[in-house]
Amino acid sequence: MPAPLFEFLLRLADDHLILGHRLSEWCGHAPMLEEDLAMPNMGLDMIGQARALYAYAAEVEGKGRTEDDLAFLRAEREYRNLLLVERPNGDFAQTMLRQLYFAAFMRPYWEAMQTSSDATLAGIAGKAVKEVTYHIRHAGEWVIRLGDGTEESADRMRAAVEELAPYTGELFETDAITDAMVSAGIAPGPAAMRTAWDSTIAEVFGQALLDQPDIAYPQSGGRKGQHGEGLGHLLADMQFLQRAHPGATW
Protein backbone atom coordinates (compact mmCIF):
# COMPACT_ATOMS: atom_id res chain seq x y z
CA MET A 1 0.00 0.00 0.00
CA PRO A 2 1.35 3.49 -0.84
CA ALA A 3 1.98 5.89 2.04
CA PRO A 4 -1.59 6.67 3.14
CA LEU A 5 -1.22 10.43 3.60
CA PHE A 6 0.40 10.91 0.18
CA GLU A 7 -2.24 8.78 -1.52
CA PHE A 8 -5.00 10.64 0.31
CA LEU A 9 -3.63 14.05 -0.71
CA LEU A 10 -3.35 12.95 -4.33
CA ARG A 11 -6.98 11.87 -4.41
CA LEU A 12 -8.22 15.16 -3.07
CA ALA A 13 -5.86 17.19 -5.27
CA ASP A 14 -6.81 15.21 -8.39
CA ASP A 15 -10.53 15.75 -7.73
CA HIS A 16 -9.98 19.49 -7.59
CA LEU A 17 -7.58 19.79 -10.50
CA ILE A 18 -9.72 17.71 -12.85
CA LEU A 19 -13.00 19.44 -12.01
CA GLY A 20 -11.22 22.82 -12.11
CA HIS A 21 -9.94 21.98 -15.56
CA ARG A 22 -13.38 20.88 -16.74
CA LEU A 23 -14.78 24.26 -15.61
CA SER A 24 -12.01 26.09 -17.44
CA GLU A 25 -13.11 24.38 -20.67
CA TRP A 26 -16.21 26.58 -20.58
CA CYS A 27 -14.15 29.77 -20.81
CA GLY A 28 -15.30 31.55 -23.96
CA HIS A 29 -18.16 29.09 -24.50
CA ALA A 30 -20.56 29.81 -21.64
CA PRO A 31 -24.22 30.54 -22.41
CA MET A 32 -23.87 34.12 -21.11
CA LEU A 33 -21.14 36.53 -20.09
CA GLU A 34 -21.79 36.22 -16.36
CA GLU A 35 -21.33 32.46 -16.57
CA ASP A 36 -18.23 32.92 -18.66
CA LEU A 37 -16.83 34.68 -15.58
CA ALA A 38 -18.39 32.42 -12.97
CA MET A 39 -17.20 29.05 -14.23
CA PRO A 40 -13.52 29.97 -14.69
CA ASN A 41 -13.72 31.73 -11.30
CA MET A 42 -14.88 28.54 -9.64
CA GLY A 43 -12.26 26.64 -11.64
CA LEU A 44 -9.63 29.03 -10.33
CA ASP A 45 -10.71 28.34 -6.76
CA MET A 46 -10.45 24.62 -7.36
CA ILE A 47 -7.09 24.75 -9.08
CA GLY A 48 -5.83 26.95 -6.22
CA GLN A 49 -7.00 24.31 -3.75
CA ALA A 50 -5.36 21.60 -5.89
CA ARG A 51 -2.07 23.49 -5.92
CA ALA A 52 -1.97 23.73 -2.15
CA LEU A 53 -2.71 20.00 -1.89
CA TYR A 54 -0.15 18.96 -4.54
CA ALA A 55 2.54 21.12 -2.95
CA TYR A 56 1.88 19.43 0.37
CA ALA A 57 1.72 15.97 -1.26
CA ALA A 58 5.10 16.59 -2.90
CA GLU A 59 6.55 17.61 0.46
CA VAL A 60 5.07 14.53 2.18
CA GLU A 61 6.40 12.22 -0.55
CA GLY A 62 9.88 13.68 -0.16
CA LYS A 63 11.21 12.42 -3.49
CA GLY A 64 11.94 15.81 -4.97
CA ARG A 65 8.81 15.93 -7.13
CA THR A 66 7.04 19.28 -7.35
CA GLU A 67 3.36 20.25 -7.53
CA ASP A 68 3.80 20.64 -11.31
CA ASP A 69 5.34 17.16 -11.66
CA LEU A 70 2.34 15.69 -9.88
CA ALA A 71 -0.16 17.61 -12.01
CA PHE A 72 1.48 17.34 -15.42
CA LEU A 73 3.70 14.26 -15.47
CA ARG A 74 1.46 11.46 -14.26
CA ALA A 75 -0.37 9.14 -16.64
CA GLU A 76 -4.09 8.51 -16.69
CA ARG A 77 -3.96 5.32 -14.58
CA GLU A 78 -2.00 7.19 -11.90
CA TYR A 79 -4.81 9.71 -11.44
CA ARG A 80 -6.93 9.09 -8.37
CA ASN A 81 -9.89 11.40 -8.97
CA LEU A 82 -13.55 10.45 -8.70
CA LEU A 83 -15.29 9.50 -11.94
CA LEU A 84 -17.87 12.23 -11.28
CA VAL A 85 -15.40 15.10 -11.68
CA GLU A 86 -13.97 13.85 -14.98
CA ARG A 87 -17.39 13.48 -16.64
CA PRO A 88 -17.53 15.63 -19.78
CA ASN A 89 -19.16 19.04 -19.41
CA GLY A 90 -22.15 18.00 -21.51
CA ASP A 91 -24.62 20.85 -21.56
CA PHE A 92 -24.86 23.64 -18.98
CA ALA A 93 -27.37 21.63 -16.94
CA GLN A 94 -24.92 18.74 -16.57
CA THR A 95 -22.07 21.04 -15.61
CA MET A 96 -24.13 22.74 -12.91
CA LEU A 97 -25.45 19.47 -11.51
CA ARG A 98 -21.96 17.93 -11.43
CA GLN A 99 -20.77 21.00 -9.50
CA LEU A 100 -23.66 20.78 -7.07
CA TYR A 101 -23.09 17.07 -6.41
CA PHE A 102 -19.40 17.65 -5.71
CA ALA A 103 -19.74 20.88 -3.73
CA ALA A 104 -22.53 19.44 -1.59
CA PHE A 105 -20.03 16.79 -0.54
CA MET A 106 -16.99 19.06 -0.15
CA ARG A 107 -18.66 21.69 1.98
CA PRO A 108 -19.26 19.48 5.05
CA TYR A 109 -15.99 17.69 4.29
CA TRP A 110 -13.86 20.86 4.41
CA GLU A 111 -15.87 22.04 7.38
CA ALA A 112 -14.92 18.90 9.32
CA MET A 113 -11.33 19.03 8.07
CA GLN A 114 -10.82 22.41 9.74
CA THR A 115 -10.21 20.53 12.99
CA SER A 116 -7.76 18.08 11.36
CA SER A 117 -4.79 16.95 13.45
CA ASP A 118 -2.73 17.99 10.42
CA ALA A 119 -2.16 21.76 10.60
CA THR A 120 -1.50 22.20 6.86
CA LEU A 121 -4.75 20.47 5.90
CA ALA A 122 -6.68 22.37 8.55
CA GLY A 123 -5.31 25.61 7.03
CA ILE A 124 -6.24 24.64 3.46
CA ALA A 125 -9.70 23.60 4.67
CA GLY A 126 -10.23 26.93 6.43
CA LYS A 127 -9.89 28.76 3.13
CA ALA A 128 -11.58 26.19 0.92
CA VAL A 129 -14.75 25.97 3.00
CA LYS A 130 -15.48 29.64 2.25
CA GLU A 131 -14.91 29.13 -1.46
CA VAL A 132 -17.01 25.99 -1.81
CA THR A 133 -19.92 27.72 -0.10
CA TYR A 134 -20.15 30.04 -3.09
CA HIS A 135 -19.93 27.12 -5.51
CA ILE A 136 -22.75 25.21 -3.89
CA ARG A 137 -24.95 28.28 -3.90
CA HIS A 138 -24.19 29.18 -7.49
CA ALA A 139 -24.71 25.66 -8.81
CA GLY A 140 -27.74 25.11 -6.58
CA GLU A 141 -29.47 28.26 -7.83
CA TRP A 142 -28.98 27.17 -11.43
CA VAL A 143 -30.27 23.65 -10.80
CA ILE A 144 -33.40 25.18 -9.26
CA ARG A 145 -33.84 27.71 -12.05
CA LEU A 146 -33.41 25.13 -14.81
CA GLY A 147 -35.36 22.32 -13.10
CA ASP A 148 -38.27 24.64 -12.39
CA GLY A 149 -37.86 26.51 -15.68
CA THR A 150 -39.07 25.88 -19.20
CA GLU A 151 -40.05 22.52 -20.63
CA GLU A 152 -36.70 22.40 -22.41
CA SER A 153 -34.60 23.30 -19.37
CA ALA A 154 -36.49 20.88 -17.12
CA ASP A 155 -35.97 18.10 -19.69
CA ARG A 156 -32.27 18.80 -19.76
CA MET A 157 -32.01 18.92 -16.00
CA ARG A 158 -33.78 15.56 -15.69
CA ALA A 159 -31.43 14.12 -18.32
CA ALA A 160 -28.46 15.45 -16.35
CA VAL A 161 -29.69 13.72 -13.19
CA GLU A 162 -30.13 10.49 -15.13
CA GLU A 163 -26.61 10.80 -16.52
CA LEU A 164 -24.72 11.80 -13.36
CA ALA A 165 -26.54 10.19 -10.43
CA PRO A 166 -24.78 6.81 -10.94
CA TYR A 167 -21.46 8.53 -10.21
CA THR A 168 -22.44 9.98 -6.83
CA GLY A 169 -22.05 6.82 -4.75
CA GLU A 170 -18.28 6.89 -5.23
CA LEU A 171 -18.11 10.11 -3.18
CA PHE A 172 -18.88 8.16 -0.02
CA GLU A 173 -16.73 5.05 -0.55
CA THR A 174 -14.30 4.08 2.17
CA ASP A 175 -11.20 1.90 2.04
CA ALA A 176 -7.94 1.37 3.94
CA ILE A 177 -6.69 4.86 3.01
CA THR A 178 -9.77 6.73 4.21
CA ASP A 179 -9.86 4.56 7.36
CA ALA A 180 -6.21 5.41 8.09
CA MET A 181 -6.98 9.14 7.75
CA VAL A 182 -9.95 8.89 10.10
CA SER A 183 -8.06 6.98 12.78
CA ALA A 184 -5.16 9.47 12.64
CA GLY A 185 -7.65 12.35 12.98
CA ILE A 186 -6.37 13.79 9.69
CA ALA A 187 -9.59 13.75 7.69
CA PRO A 188 -13.26 12.95 8.19
CA GLY A 189 -14.60 9.72 6.71
CA PRO A 190 -16.40 10.20 3.38
CA ALA A 191 -19.37 8.10 4.49
CA ALA A 192 -20.04 10.54 7.34
CA MET A 193 -20.90 13.24 4.76
CA ARG A 194 -23.92 11.29 3.51
CA THR A 195 -26.52 12.96 5.74
CA ALA A 196 -25.41 16.50 4.96
CA TRP A 197 -25.15 15.71 1.25
CA ASP A 198 -28.58 14.08 1.15
CA SER A 199 -30.15 17.04 2.87
CA THR A 200 -28.55 19.62 0.52
CA ILE A 201 -29.55 17.65 -2.55
CA ALA A 202 -33.07 17.10 -1.20
CA GLU A 203 -33.45 20.83 -0.49
CA VAL A 204 -32.33 21.84 -3.98
CA PHE A 205 -34.15 19.05 -5.83
CA GLY A 206 -37.34 19.85 -3.93
CA GLN A 207 -37.30 23.40 -5.26
CA ALA A 208 -36.09 22.27 -8.67
CA LEU A 209 -38.98 19.78 -8.98
CA LEU A 210 -36.48 16.98 -9.60
CA ASP A 211 -36.62 13.41 -8.34
CA GLN A 212 -33.65 11.46 -7.13
CA PRO A 213 -33.54 8.34 -9.28
CA ASP A 214 -32.91 4.79 -8.15
CA ILE A 215 -29.41 3.91 -9.22
CA ALA A 216 -29.29 0.52 -10.90
CA TYR A 217 -25.62 0.55 -11.87
CA PRO A 218 -23.44 2.66 -9.59
CA GLN A 219 -20.09 3.57 -11.14
CA SER A 220 -16.74 3.70 -9.37
CA GLY A 221 -13.05 2.93 -9.87
CA GLY A 222 -11.44 6.37 -10.00
CA ARG A 223 -9.63 5.91 -6.67
CA LYS A 224 -7.92 2.86 -8.16
CA GLY A 225 -6.99 4.62 -11.38
CA GLN A 226 -9.76 3.07 -13.46
CA HIS A 227 -11.18 5.95 -15.44
CA GLY A 228 -13.59 6.65 -18.25
CA GLU A 229 -12.52 7.47 -21.76
CA GLY A 230 -12.83 11.19 -21.13
CA LEU A 231 -9.94 11.54 -18.68
CA GLY A 232 -7.28 10.61 -21.22
CA HIS A 233 -8.54 13.30 -23.59
CA LEU A 234 -8.60 15.84 -20.78
CA LEU A 235 -5.03 15.00 -19.74
CA ALA A 236 -3.80 15.14 -23.33
CA ASP A 237 -5.06 18.71 -23.49
CA MET A 238 -3.95 19.74 -19.99
CA GLN A 239 -0.51 18.11 -20.07
CA PHE A 240 0.37 18.87 -23.68
CA LEU A 241 2.75 21.74 -23.00
CA GLN A 242 4.84 20.01 -20.34
CA ARG A 243 4.96 16.81 -22.39
CA ALA A 244 5.98 18.53 -25.62
CA HIS A 245 8.34 21.00 -23.97
CA PRO A 246 9.50 19.47 -20.68
CA GLY A 247 10.27 22.08 -18.04
CA ALA A 248 8.83 24.95 -20.08
CA THR A 249 8.16 28.10 -18.03
CA TRP A 250 7.14 31.66 -18.75
Binding site: L37, A38, L44, R51, I124, K127, A128, I136, R137
Partner: protein, 163 residues
Amino acid sequence: MVAVLDLDQARAYRAAAAVPDPEIPCVTVADLGILRSVDVVDGMAVAHVTPTYNGCPAVLAIELAVEAALRDAGFDARIERVIAPAWTTDWITDEGREKLRAYGIAPPVKGSGKGSLFAEVEVACPKCGADDTAKVSEFGSTACKAHYRCNVCAEPFDYFKCI
Protein backbone atom coordinates in the same frame (compact mmCIF):
# COMPACT_ATOMS: atom_id res chain seq x y z
CA MET B 1 8.43 44.17 30.61
CA VAL B 2 9.48 47.34 28.86
CA ALA B 3 8.38 47.57 25.28
CA VAL B 4 11.28 48.31 22.99
CA LEU B 5 10.43 50.36 19.95
CA ASP B 6 12.04 48.64 17.03
CA LEU B 7 12.70 51.35 14.47
CA ASP B 8 13.81 48.94 11.75
CA GLN B 9 10.69 46.90 12.13
CA ALA B 10 8.45 49.96 12.02
CA ARG B 11 10.23 51.19 8.90
CA ALA B 12 9.99 47.78 7.21
CA TYR B 13 6.31 47.52 8.06
CA ARG B 14 5.61 50.98 6.65
CA ALA B 15 7.42 50.11 3.41
CA ALA B 16 5.51 46.84 2.98
CA ALA B 17 2.18 48.27 4.10
CA ALA B 18 2.22 50.97 1.42
CA VAL B 19 2.20 48.43 -1.46
CA PRO B 20 -1.02 48.78 -3.46
CA ASP B 21 -3.11 45.75 -4.42
CA PRO B 22 -2.40 45.01 -8.11
CA GLU B 23 -6.07 44.41 -8.96
CA ILE B 24 -7.58 47.14 -6.79
CA PRO B 25 -4.85 49.78 -6.57
CA CYS B 26 -6.94 52.18 -4.46
CA VAL B 27 -6.21 50.03 -1.41
CA THR B 28 -2.95 48.78 0.05
CA VAL B 29 -2.06 45.30 1.24
CA ALA B 30 -2.38 46.61 4.80
CA ASP B 31 -5.87 48.05 4.13
CA LEU B 32 -6.96 44.63 2.88
CA GLY B 33 -5.49 42.82 5.85
CA ILE B 34 -3.41 40.52 3.66
CA LEU B 35 -0.13 41.81 5.11
CA ARG B 36 -0.21 40.12 8.50
CA SER B 37 3.11 41.25 10.01
CA VAL B 38 6.73 42.10 9.25
CA ASP B 39 9.62 40.90 11.39
CA VAL B 40 13.18 42.15 11.07
CA VAL B 41 15.99 39.85 12.23
CA ASP B 42 19.60 40.80 11.52
CA GLY B 43 18.64 43.08 8.64
CA MET B 44 16.43 40.44 7.02
CA ALA B 45 12.81 41.52 6.75
CA VAL B 46 10.31 38.67 6.75
CA ALA B 47 6.82 39.68 5.62
CA HIS B 48 3.91 37.40 6.43
CA VAL B 49 1.33 37.56 3.66
CA THR B 50 -1.95 35.68 3.39
CA PRO B 51 -3.84 35.04 0.13
CA THR B 52 -7.46 36.14 -0.11
CA TYR B 53 -8.54 33.12 -2.18
CA ASN B 54 -6.55 29.90 -2.75
CA GLY B 55 -6.56 30.50 -6.47
CA CYS B 56 -6.12 34.29 -6.47
CA PRO B 57 -3.88 35.02 -9.47
CA ALA B 58 -2.61 38.19 -7.79
CA VAL B 59 -0.91 36.30 -4.94
CA LEU B 60 2.46 36.04 -6.62
CA ALA B 61 2.36 39.63 -7.88
CA ILE B 62 1.56 40.85 -4.38
CA GLU B 63 4.37 38.85 -2.82
CA LEU B 64 6.88 40.10 -5.38
CA ALA B 65 5.76 43.70 -4.90
CA VAL B 66 6.07 43.48 -1.11
CA GLU B 67 9.50 41.91 -1.41
CA ALA B 68 10.61 44.63 -3.84
CA ALA B 69 9.31 47.38 -1.54
CA LEU B 70 11.30 45.94 1.36
CA ARG B 71 14.45 45.75 -0.77
CA ASP B 72 13.93 49.35 -1.89
CA ALA B 73 13.79 50.28 1.78
CA GLY B 74 17.22 48.69 2.24
CA PHE B 75 16.35 45.30 3.71
CA ASP B 76 17.14 41.79 2.62
CA ALA B 77 13.65 40.43 2.25
CA ARG B 78 11.75 37.20 2.31
CA ILE B 79 8.04 36.44 2.07
CA GLU B 80 6.28 33.85 4.14
CA ARG B 81 2.87 32.77 2.94
CA VAL B 82 0.47 32.12 5.80
CA ILE B 83 -2.82 30.33 5.14
CA ALA B 84 -4.11 29.87 8.68
CA PRO B 85 -6.10 31.50 10.11
CA ALA B 86 -7.89 31.96 6.80
CA TRP B 87 -8.23 35.50 5.50
CA THR B 88 -11.61 37.08 6.04
CA THR B 89 -13.08 40.28 4.68
CA ASP B 90 -13.53 41.32 8.32
CA TRP B 91 -9.79 42.10 8.25
CA ILE B 92 -10.32 44.91 5.73
CA THR B 93 -9.80 48.08 7.75
CA ASP B 94 -12.42 50.82 8.08
CA GLU B 95 -10.12 53.08 6.08
CA GLY B 96 -9.85 50.38 3.42
CA ARG B 97 -13.63 50.08 3.25
CA GLU B 98 -13.97 53.84 2.74
CA LYS B 99 -11.34 53.76 -0.03
CA LEU B 100 -13.18 50.91 -1.76
CA ARG B 101 -16.47 52.79 -1.62
CA ALA B 102 -14.89 55.96 -3.00
CA TYR B 103 -13.37 53.85 -5.81
CA GLY B 104 -16.83 52.53 -6.75
CA ILE B 105 -16.61 49.08 -5.13
CA ALA B 106 -19.18 48.28 -2.45
CA PRO B 107 -17.22 47.08 0.60
CA PRO B 108 -18.07 43.69 2.13
CA VAL B 109 -20.73 43.45 4.78
CA LYS B 110 -19.13 42.89 8.18
CA GLY B 111 -19.61 39.60 10.01
CA SER B 112 -18.31 36.94 7.63
CA GLY B 113 -19.83 33.52 7.30
CA LYS B 114 -23.13 34.51 8.85
CA GLY B 115 -26.48 33.59 7.42
CA SER B 116 -27.75 30.44 5.78
CA LEU B 117 -26.63 28.97 2.49
CA PHE B 118 -29.07 30.75 0.23
CA ALA B 119 -29.39 33.95 2.26
CA GLU B 120 -29.14 37.26 0.39
CA VAL B 121 -27.20 40.22 1.77
CA GLU B 122 -28.20 43.85 1.41
CA VAL B 123 -25.58 45.75 -0.54
CA ALA B 124 -25.63 49.55 -0.69
CA CYS B 125 -24.78 51.29 -3.97
CA PRO B 126 -21.32 52.88 -3.65
CA LYS B 127 -22.44 55.74 -5.92
CA CYS B 128 -25.75 56.96 -4.48
CA GLY B 129 -25.96 54.96 -1.26
CA ALA B 130 -29.35 53.37 -2.05
CA ASP B 131 -30.05 49.93 -0.59
CA ASP B 132 -32.23 48.94 -3.53
CA THR B 133 -29.68 46.98 -5.56
CA ALA B 134 -29.75 43.69 -7.49
CA LYS B 135 -27.14 41.00 -7.91
CA VAL B 136 -26.25 40.51 -11.56
CA SER B 137 -23.67 37.77 -11.06
CA GLU B 138 -22.23 35.97 -8.05
CA PHE B 139 -18.83 36.09 -9.73
CA GLY B 140 -17.49 39.42 -10.94
CA SER B 141 -14.31 40.70 -12.52
CA THR B 142 -12.12 38.93 -9.94
CA ALA B 143 -12.64 35.95 -7.63
CA CYS B 144 -13.20 38.25 -4.66
CA LYS B 145 -16.01 40.32 -6.22
CA ALA B 146 -19.61 39.89 -7.29
CA HIS B 147 -21.40 42.05 -9.84
CA TYR B 148 -24.36 44.24 -8.82
CA ARG B 149 -26.57 46.97 -10.27
CA CYS B 150 -28.25 49.83 -8.45
CA ASN B 151 -32.01 49.93 -9.04
CA VAL B 152 -32.15 53.64 -8.13
CA CYS B 153 -29.30 55.31 -10.04
CA ALA B 154 -28.72 52.39 -12.48
CA GLU B 155 -25.00 52.28 -11.72
CA PRO B 156 -23.42 48.85 -12.33
CA PHE B 157 -20.84 48.12 -9.64
CA ASP B 158 -18.63 45.49 -8.03
CA TYR B 159 -19.36 44.19 -4.55
CA PHE B 160 -16.43 42.88 -2.55
CA LYS B 161 -17.79 39.50 -1.46
CA CYS B 162 -17.98 38.78 2.21
CA ILE B 163 -16.00 35.67 3.20
